[in-house]
């Protein structure tokens, strides 16, 4: 009598052979190289960094001073005047979006059984991710603390007094 073999749905790499994945969980022909391993590793590495970035973000924005009441246009302008916070927010944007996108990709692979359903859900997911990452990156780098339209300062801006 041999010991019971327990199939681990997500432990089969292409090199080991796709027969390690039970047929009902197999989602591709098994030619993905070590992408899944890299994705797994990325979740752990980005996760550790995100704990620091997001806890710092929440502390500075919600717990210090007046907390949420201090947040307005001037608050954002004050933070992004400092390259430290630009880099902080940029790293948080990219890592959180990629971490979240990979998480949702995993969930789609787990629960959407039809090929076409998975394809369309992932197209929507990747489109949303691309738009949000590009938009967020552009906002951080093109932010203007003192917006002027047709020579007139917009109200509420963070302009130095003339």
């Amino acid at each position: 009598m041999s010991a019971t073999q327990i199939q681990s749905p997500r432990s089969g790499g292409a090199k080991v052979g796709s027969n390690r994945i039970a047929p009902q969980y197999r989602r591709t022909g098994g030619s993905k190289g070590n992408f899944e391993m890299l994705a797994w590793l990325f979740m752990r590495l980005s996760g550790v960094v995100l704990v620091v970035l997001i806890f710092g973000h929440l502390t500075v924005n919600l717990l210090v001073g007046e907390g949420i009441h201090a947040i307005d246009f001037g608050f954002v302008a004050g933070k992004w005047a400092d390259p430290f916070w630009q880099v902080w927010d940029l790293a948080m944007l990219w890592l959180a979006m990629l971490h979240g996108t990979n998480g949702v990709r995993t969930i789609i692979n787990d629960y959407a059984e039809k090929d076409a359903t998975r394809l369309w859900l992932k197209i929507v997911l990747y489109a949303a991710t691309t738009v949000i990452i590009i938009l967020g990156t552009m906002v951080i780098f093109t932010f203007d603390p003192c917006p002027v339209v047709n020579g007139v300062q917009l109200p509420g801006g963070f302009c130095p007094s003339p």
């Binding site: 997001i54 949420i68 246009f73 979240g100 967020g136 109200p155």
Partner: protein
């Protein structure tokens, strides 16, 4: 009479329910993140547009929503560190249950502290 299996790392009890909690909180955080990048992007439209929309985060109902969101983030963060320990620490799988209870204890401590501070700021006199 067949006996129930005692459960494996990812089937039944702490291992499975923490996995369920991790998925649900992860999805919630992801959808908030999409909205949060969009609302922050309004700084590029005009100062007034940003300040008006961010004002929506400052009402009492949203204060509760923010507390719930932070509760999801803190659980996902601590349980994520537990998952890393399960995967990379030699004794991680053996102590995964104890680590989950540690995660939950830390989560309660952090959330009590956060809730007192955030709710008194958000709901307090201003």
């Amino acid at each position: 009479m067949p006996t129930k299996p005692a459960g494996t790392l990812y089937r039944g009890r702490e291992g499975m329910w923490s996995w369920v909690g991790h998925r649900i909180t992860g999805v919630v955080i992801f959808f908030f993140l999409l909205v949060h990048v969009l609302d922050t992007s309004l700084v590029r439209v005009s100062p007034e547009a940003y300040t008006a929309v961010i004002g929506a985060y400052k009402n009492p109902l949203m204060a509760l929503g923010e507390t719930g969101l932070v509760a999801a983030i803190v659980f996902h963060a601590f349980n994520g560190l537990r998952i890393i320990a399960v995967d990379f620490w030699k004794k991680g799988a053996k102590y995964q249950r104890q680590m989950l209870w540690t995660v939950l204890a830390l989560w309660v401590v952090v959330m009590v502290g956060f809730s007192i501070r955030h709710l008194s700021l958000a709901l307090g006199g201003h």
